[in-house]
């Protein structure tokens, strides 16, 4: 060792007497003793119990209605129609009626749900170009090869937005109508914007910009995905800021679901006017659906979900029940451990050599 050379004397090579080198660093050596483990288990059981009860109450306070409209009501006709590929472009609309038994209080969220649709397939998820949707001019005209086979259309035009994810966008549209107590039909107003993550809407997705050009002009020379009926720049005729890559429905769709059964936010109840100021009143409702999205190929189901929310999110009982179960199991284990300790460990007989 280099530094030893500079020292002199009979004990030149003697190692330093530092706590680190002598492995005597001050340390804490915890042990699993009855006085720590048993209180820990009882405390855990208690905390889980409290959490479970709290969550259960919270979840119980929410309301949720799921309407599977795949073949419900008049939608059966549309389902048959969509089975035939040649009818793919023909419009089809249908209506499903359901009733709300107990009024929805507070904000009501409108979701569409899909079952057995695998947004999480590896090749499917890869088939997108974030550089294109963030508005890079180069990628607009020359999308990434990850988008194959939806990179260029038959004529060789680049697809914008490219890739299988964008191409398969959910294209049913809904309008909700309240059958008022007076017999009249009141359309339920839905806020269709503000359904995306802030970061998605403002950072991850941006429209390509060119000076003095309209969105349509910027998109010139690109083709819409083959399954789209409208080009990207004309998705929302009512709101010019909701077109192109920053269209809310597109962004929501592009956030791929982790599991094959999922729901995505479609709109939020607009509560400015009566009778919706407090939420959804009791009564019958009907949903008018522009039935476009084909699901029969993959035995999929489509549904509409109406729900109210709390700080904990939607109506998912799992965590509440899981905490209660964990609490009781922990309590059982704690009692068991106590018995074991009382019978065997307490007198320390086993600890003797």
């Amino acid at each position: 060792m280099g530094k030893d050379d500079t020292r002199a004397g009979p004990l030149v090579r003697r190692p330093d007497n530092s706590a680190f080198k002598q492995q005597r660093l001050p340390a804490w050596s915890p042990m699993l003793t009855a006085s720590t483990v048993l209180p820990f288990f009882y405390l855990t059981a208690l905390i889980c119990m409290l959490l479970g009860v709290l969550l259960l109450l919270t979840v119980q306070s929410t309301q949720e209605i799921k309407v599977d409209y795949t073949e419900a009501g008049t939608c059966n006709i549309c389902l048959q129609k969509r089975k035939n590929v040649t009818n793919g472009a023909l419009p089809c609309s249908c209506t499903v009626v359901f009733s709300v038994e107990k009024a929805f209080r507070g904000n009501v969220f409108f979701y569409y749900g899909l079952r057995n649709f695998h947004q999480n397939l590896r090749r499917y998820m890869d088939s997108r170009d974030d550089a294109q949707t963030v508005g890079r001019a180069g990628n607009l005209k020359n999308p990434s090869t990850y988008c194959e086979p939806f990179r260029k259309d038959k004529n060789g035009l680049p697809i914008a937005p490219c890739g299988a994810v964008a191409n398969s966008i959910f294209n049913d549209s809904f309008s909700l109508v309240y059958h008022g107590s007076t017999g009249g039909f009141v359309p339920v107003p839905l806020l269709r914007n503000g359904v995306t993550w802030y970061t998605d809407k403002n950072i991850k997705f941006r429209n390509p910009q060119k000076e003095n050009l309209t969105l349509a002009q910027v998109f010139e020379g690109t083709a819409p995905p083959p399954y789209w009926q409208k080009p990207a720049y004309a998705l929302d005729p009512s709101d010019s800021t909701n077109n192109g890559f920053i269209n809310d429905d597109l962004i929501v769709w592009m956030r791929e679901a982790a599991f094959p059964n999922f729901k995505k936010l479609y709109g939020v109840l607009f509560r400015a006017n009566k009778p919706f100021t407090k939420g959804l009143p009791v009564g019958n409702y009907s949903i008018h659906i522009n039935y476009n999205f084909p699901v029969q190929h993959f035995q999929g189901r489509k549904e509409v979900v109406l729900t109210t929310l709390t700080w904990f999110g939607g109506q998912n009982h799992f965590l509440a029940i899981a905490y209660l179960v964990t609490s009781s199991v922990t309590l059982l284990i704690a009692v068991g451990l106590t018995v074991v300790w009382w019978k065997f460990g307490r007198n320390g007989k086993n600890m003797e050599k």
């Binding site: 009979p10 004990l11 090579r13 190692p15 007497n17 080198k21 492995q23 005597r24 660093l25 001050p26 340390a27 804490w28 050596s29 915890p30 699993l32 288990f41 855990t44 889980c48 979701y111 695998h118 999480n120 397939l121 499917y124 088939s127 974030d130 890079r136 086979p149 398969s168 359904v195 993550w197 970061t199 998605d200 950072i203 929501v252 679901a257 982790a258 094959p260 729901k263 936010l265 190929h297 993959f298 035995q299 929310l309 709390t310 904990f312 999110g313 939607g314 998912n316 799992f318 965590l319 899981a322 905490y323 922990t330 068991g336 451990l337 065997f344 320390g348 086993n350 600890m351 050599k353």
Partner: protein, 1064 residues
């Protein structure tokens, strides 16, 4: 042929290709290269290239940097050595030349303290009679050289005595000239270095088996998933082609085949690439702790312990058999001439070292002899009187001792004699002769000068018949001043008794009785004999000797035959007995090791009685051991040594069962080769981990044969140390090496492996469960960057901290309970069963870690109604759960929380969150759009209470069963570790206030502070015995009686301590 050497492996241009080639010869590295190639195929690539490339490059880089720095060191030392200057005789004048330009055939001049440049044939030197003193180089196979020098048609024999070997240093010689006969790579030194065999530990072997079985496991997992994929593709995938068309030409079968390889990539983390690197780092760390240990530092010769091999540490915790040399290992190898038997009369009294200082008055006074060595101690006046009376046999006895040896005298000042002896026995004998009036004064190759009772007498040295391990004797043939030719011989009794004249039979009996007595006292004995030779016979023998000594074929055999011929019909003179004192702390150490259930075999060249006695004195044999088998070996002539091998081995095979049941085995009269054979036998048949410890060249073969070789740097040079794996100054440090360092190293390594496999399996199995939800499409659960950094950044340091610092009990308690060592011997901490358990544990954890987040998330939304069941949020949730659970598991495994551990654990968690937030930030996305697509995920999901509640639940469900299980085990069936830890915890409350120290026999009283946290200087107490609790009836205090070994700088005292404690 020049003298340049090259020990470096690479140069600048060859480094990269050669080093990479060497690294890729390792299975794990090659596997990751293969993975990388797989990833380049777009149809298969399920992960980005960087997920395997970054770890691979990092691992390769670490290894390459280490190799490069090693090689730079070699380059530097080569350059330094090659550029050393030496004076070369060229064209009749001396010129300064570089070493590397020296050619074979050059004549060079060396000066004092210079290194020998090449293998030289010595031509002349400054010392009288061209003697040269050298400090020998580190090698034990340099002892053979055969050559012949032809000058003017006369042939002279050249042997080892006339050579200076490269690597030696010239000492005490002003200058010498030598002819270069081998240079550079041809020198003995270079020929002997390099080819070291690598020892592998049993954990290494286990690891290789496990890695292979992991490969098998990986293949079966991937096959299962590929089959799943085929089923899915047929059932669901074909209907999904509307949204995701298949690749051209792909069908379900091809897709599932590609999926197999995709999953090989995704699940690659079950084969841990960083395993080997981490293992090396841990072993290196633990080796440093051995080097740094002050309690294994021997102040007397300034020797710290040294881990010379850094790859064997954990095996130190698994030793089952220790093979120990006796001389110099158990004993000090400082010899004292203690007793002798001359012509049937015994002289000398035995005083053990303990009492010697009490007997000062009885020492024999040698002041009549001006040349006497003042340090020499003898306790029998009658011998001096006998010698001074001029007793013929006594005079011949000491004359023999003064003549028959290979000692070099050094007389810097007139009358101040100093002997340089190759073996301490010889030194002791020559010193004895010196004090009794036969002073060996000087030697030349042809003469020996002795001062006999004040008179200078010069003997002509006619021949030296060397000592070696087969001959076990040495003779000289001298012509006295009166012209009489005499052969003096000393050697082992068995050997010499076969060569005695028949008339000595009676004397032989008496001497044998004396010899047995000496051996019973544990003394080393030699028998002395002489023979007068006929002038004519001698002349003729000398002629044949010369011929034989220059023979190129069978030189040794011819010489042996000649020696055999002349060394017969000897006349017995008597026997010497030399005491070899036990080293400090040997009995205690052996007792400790025996308590740790380590079997100790002593392999010695001594007689049975000597060995047995040593066995008793160092606690290996005890009175209560009822059945002591004595396996007597036939008296064999030296010629039958080869035959005796076969016999011995056959016999040993039968013997081994008996022997292996014994607690202690002492093998006497074994040769170095037999030592190695015994070790190999036990290794082979008992499948146990063996350790050999020794100090001399004769232990080298044994040290190399055993799993672990320990060298004691003592009196007999450095050969044993240089071929050993660990070395230190005293035998007693062995208990610290094994019971503390070995046990910790083993424990740490096992904890490391268990945890390492746990964290990697848990990580990987989550992918497996996800496959059932993502159509077996080889989609990963986690972010690719998380996969890349998980092993390298997020979990690397905590586990290293665990496996470098962890101690279950501290060193003091390790000594007090040597039984703690047993689990290592039985391989209990980590084995195949533990591996399977670890896999099942991982499986459970992964189920929790996947299904809890799944169930909690699949149908839920954020508190503002927006998405949280999306893939990216789920990935973040799953990986956060994972990192918290594996950190918590690490905390459970850590028994010894130093600040460093805390820092590593919390630092790694903090690093995880910091890195995650950074990678998911706007800036990173806008700069590297396609590499960091997870923008905003952390912000949007980690602010949700349900995400944190999920993390808490998953962590609880992973941790609680482990805690409960461990607690139950501690309550119902506590391991020895648990018991000691419990004991330690209770005893921490004892106030180790003062130690009342009494030092026998003077009853020196003193106070030693002994704080439990102990950072004061007084802490260096080595407790070697069990404390015996003693109740003091007069007060409520209890006393502990402890034998302790106190080491203060430079001095070692055995003291007994009364620990004055309050026991709660």
């Amino acid at each position: 042929l020049n003298n340049a050497i090259k020990t470096s492996k690479y140069n600048i241009f060859t480094f990269l290709p050669l080093n990479l080639f060497e690294q890729f010869r390792r299975l794990a590295n090659a596997y990751f290269l293969f993975l990388f190639c797989l990833q380049l195929i777009p149809q298969i690539s399920s992960l980005s290239w960087f997920t395997t490339m970054v770890p691979l490059i990092l691992v390769l880089a670490i290894t390459a940097v280490k190799d490069a720095s090693d090689d730079i060191n070699r380059h530097n030392s080569d350059k330094q050595v090659n550029n050393r200057k030496v004076e070369v005789l060229l064209d009749g004048e001396l010129r300064n030349e570089k070493w590397m330009t020296v050619q074979v055939g050059d004549i060079i001049k060396l000066e004092n303290n210079q290194f020998v440049t090449a293998d030289l044939l010595l031509l002349s030197s400054s010392e009288p009679l061209n003697l040269v003193y050298v400090e020998t180089p580190p090698n034990n196979r340099l002892d053979k050289f055969k050559g012949a020098l032809t000058v003017n048609q006369n042939t002279f024999s050249l042997d080892n005595d006339k050579l200076l070997l490269r690597g030696c240093t010239l000492r005490n010689t002003e200058w010498c000239f030598g002819l270069v006969i081998f240079g550079g790579p041809d020198t003995k030194l270079m020929q002997n270095s390099g080819k070291t065999t690598f020892k592998r530990t049993s954990i290494d072997h286990l690891m290789n088996v496990l890695v292979l079985s992991i490969f098998g496991f990986l293949a079966s997992m991937c096959s299962a998933l590929a089959i799943g994929n085929a089923v899915w593709e047929v059932k669901d995938g074909s209907t999904f082609t509307v949204f995701l068309p298949r690749e051209k030409g792909a069908n379900a079968a091809l897709t599932s085949f590609l999926t197999f390889w995709s999953y090989v990539i995704v699940l690659n983390t079950v084969v841990p690439i960083s395993l080997y690197v981490s293992v090396e780092i841990i072993r290196l760390g633990n080796s440093f702790f051995i080097n740094w240990d002050r309690k294994m530092y021997y102040p007397k010769n300034d020797t710290p312990a040294q881990a010379r091999t850094t790859t064997l540490n954990e095996e130190l915790g698994q030793i089952k058999y220790i093979f120990s040399d006796k001389t110099g290992t158990l004993t000090q190898n400082i010899m004292a001439f203690n007793k002798c038997s001359i012509n049937g009369k015994a002289y000398g009294k035995y005083f053990s070292c303990i009492f010697s200082f009490l007997q000062k008055t009885q020492r024999v006074d040698f002041s009549w002899n001006q040349l006497a060595d003042p340090k020499f101690i003898f306790h029998d006046f009658s011998l001096v009187e006998t010698v001074r009376e001029g007793n013929q046999e006594a005079n011949a006895f000491f004359r023999l001792l003064a003549l028959c040896h290979t000692v070099m005298p050094e007389e810097k000042k007139e009358g101040e004699l100093f002997y340089q002896a190759q073996s301490p026995d010889e030194g002791a004998l020559v010193t004895a002769a010196r004090n009794f009036g036969f002073v060996f004064r000087s030697r030349t190759p042809e003469t020996i000068t002795v001062v006999e009772m004040g008179q200078h007498v010069t003997y002509e040295l006619l021949a030296v018949l060397d000592f070696n391990n087969v001959r076990k004797r040495m003779s000289v043939i001298v012509r006295g001043p009166d012209g009489k030719i005499t052969l003096y011989c000393k050697g082992a009794d068995t050997i010499l008794y076969e060569r005695l004249e028949s008339s000595c039979a009676k004397l032989m009996n008496i001497t044998t009785r004396h010899l047995n007595e000496y051996a019973g006292d544990g003394l080393r004995t030699l028998v002395l004999a002489y023979k007068d030779l006929d002038e004519r016979y001698m002349k003729e023998w000398k002629q044949r000797h010369h011929l034989a000594s220059i023979a190129m074929d069978g030189r040794e055999e011819q010489l042996d035959e000649l020696y055999e011929e002349i060394e017969k019909d000897l006349v017995l003179l008597g026997a010497t007995a030399v005491e070899d004192k036990l080293q400090d702390g040997v009995p205690q150490t052996i007792e400790q090791l025996a308590k740790a259930d380590i079997k100790i075999w002593v392999l010695t060249g001594d007689k049975q009685e000597t060995a047995e006695n040593i066995g008793y004195s160092c606690n290996m044999l005890r009175e209560e051991m009822k059945e002591i088998f004595v396996v007597q070996r036939n008296r064999l002539s030296s010629r039958a040594v080869l035959a005796c091998f076969g016999w011995r081995r056959k016999r040993l095979c039968r013997m081994r069962q008996t022997a292996c049941m014994c607690q202690t085995v002492i093998c006497c009269r074994v040769t170095p080769l037999q030592k190695a054979q015994v070790v190999q036998l036990v290794k082979k048949y008992k499948q146990a981990i063996t350790l050999a410890i020794g100090d001399g060249a004769n232990d080298v073969s044994m040290i190399k044969a055993a799993h672990i070789g320990v060298g004691i740097s003592g009196q007999e040079g450095m050969q044993a140390v240089l071929s050993s794996d660990f070395s230190f100054g005293q035998f007693r440090y062995l208990q610290r090496l094994l019971l503390v360092h070995g046990r910790w190293s083993y424990l740490r390594m096992c904890k490391f492996l268990q945890y390492f496999f746990y964290k990697n399996f848990t990580f990987t199995f989550v992918h497996f469960w996800y496959a059932f939800f993502c159509g077996f499409s080889a989609q990963t659960v986690y972010d690719e960057w998380f996969i890349t950094l998980y092993n390298l950044v997020y979990t690397a340091l905590p586990v290293l901290g665990l496996s470098i610092f962890d101690q279950d009990v501290n060193d003091r308690w390790s000594f007090q309970y040597p039984q703690l060592y047993a689990p290592g011997q039985l391989n209990q901490y980590f084995n195949k069963k533990a591996f399977v358990r670890c896999m099942m544990h991982s499986c459970y954890s992964s189920i929790i870690l996947f299904f809890i987040p799944w169930a909690a998330m699949y149908d839920t939304v954020r508190d503002d109604g927006k998405d949280i069941a999306d893939y990216q949020s789920f990935a973040l949730l799953a990986q956060t759960c994972l990192i918290i659970v594996v950190s918590a598991q690490l905390c459970l495994d850590t028994h010894y929380w130093t600040a460093v551990n805390q820092f590593f654990v919390w630092g790694s968690l903090a690093a995880y969150f910091a890195v995650t937030f950074t990678m998911y930030s706007n800036g990173m996305f806008l700069i590297f759009t396609s590499i960091f697509p997870f923008i905003g995920t952390a912000r949007n999901s980690l602010n949700q209470p349900n995400v944190w509640l999920t993390i808490l639940l998953a962590s609880l469900l992973c941790i609680l069963p482990v805690v409960a299980f461990r607690f139950i085990v501690i309550q119902l069936r506590p391991t020895i570790n648990d018991k000691v830890r419990e004991n330690m915890r209770k005893n921490q409350s004892i106030d180790w206030a003062f130690l009342n120290c009494c030092r026998s026999p003077a009853h020196n009283q003193g106070f030693f502070k002994f704080p439990p946290s102990g950072r004061s200087a007084e802490r260096s107490f080595l407790l070697t015995c069990h404390p015996v609790r003693q109740e003091d009836t007069h007060s409520n205090e209890k006393y502990m009686h402890v034998h302790a070994h106190a080491e203060t700088d430079g001095n070692t005292h055995t003291v007994c301590l009364y620990i004055h404690t309050h026991i709660a």
